[in-house]
Symmetry: C2
Amino acid sequence: MPAMLHDTVIIQFAKMLQNLSLCLDKAAAHAASKKFEPTVLLGSRLAPDQFTLLRQIQIACDTAKSGAAQLTSKDAPTHEDREATLDEAKARIAKVIEYLGTFSAKDFAGAEARRISQPRWAGKSLSGSQYAQQHLIPNFYFHVTTAYAILRHNGVDLGKKDYLGPMPFQDPASA
Amino acid sequence: MPAMLHDTVIIQFAKMLQNLSLCLDKAAAHAASKKFEPTVLLGSRLAPDQFTLLRQIQIACDTAKSGAAQLTSKDAPTHEDREATLDEAKARIAKVIEYLGTFSAKDFAGAEARRISQPRWAGKSLSGSQYAQQHLIPNFYFHVTTAYAILRHNGVDLGKKDYLGPMPFQDPASA
């Protein structure tokens, strides 16, 4: 289970963030072809009381970063919410991917039993495995998918493959 | 790791599907208060070339159902795509939650190494753990989140708590 937590929170979250970064490249291309300011997309949302695309990206980044840190009892680096362009949003993503790259499977030893809390939980806690399964993973995918949905809603040419990224398929011949 | 796969694909997916069902109750209440036909929501989408809410629900259901079946080498039951109302969509969800309830952690023994394929993969395959991490889990959350986003976009009064559901918090006193 430490290996699976490591694979989920480090390897797979980094892959999804990389996919999201490539979606932002497609967003920039879309804005250029339609001749509109690409930052308009960063301020877009699906409902007036929902976070913007930029905030979805920032939260996806922070969720991955603090999830990795909390499960391994490390201190996550602080990233100020100062991005204003697609390139800056991509740089934020790149910083988190780099941070995730500093973790090894060994860091997750004992993670599933560790008590995890957050300031807003007023002292209450979840076990590491409860936190990963019921909070971290659903939250991370929530914000990545919502970012994708905002781009799709605004006409960016994206498909499920952009969201999922490449699969490590094994050929029938090599099986 | 079999335990974590079981927890993710059986316990957690069932929880998310139950949360989605409760979101559909809020959708029905919203339609009633605004005096519009609730089936309008089932036909809503965020982009013209994106699946409707009903299809997102059906795919979320099928993803959970076939994920559980494929990882454990079982045959999933067939559910025809014939739903036309919110209640029928909720019944589809309930059938899948019931099906997930038939699995035990033991069913997932060896699941991570099992070769998983799908008709559209033309003979190519993923290991069970690759499939779970890189395909099943991201796809499942994609369709649940997109369903939620379509409802949010249409003014249904939902928040992150409706998506996540209740957390099994432990009080500081009992720690």
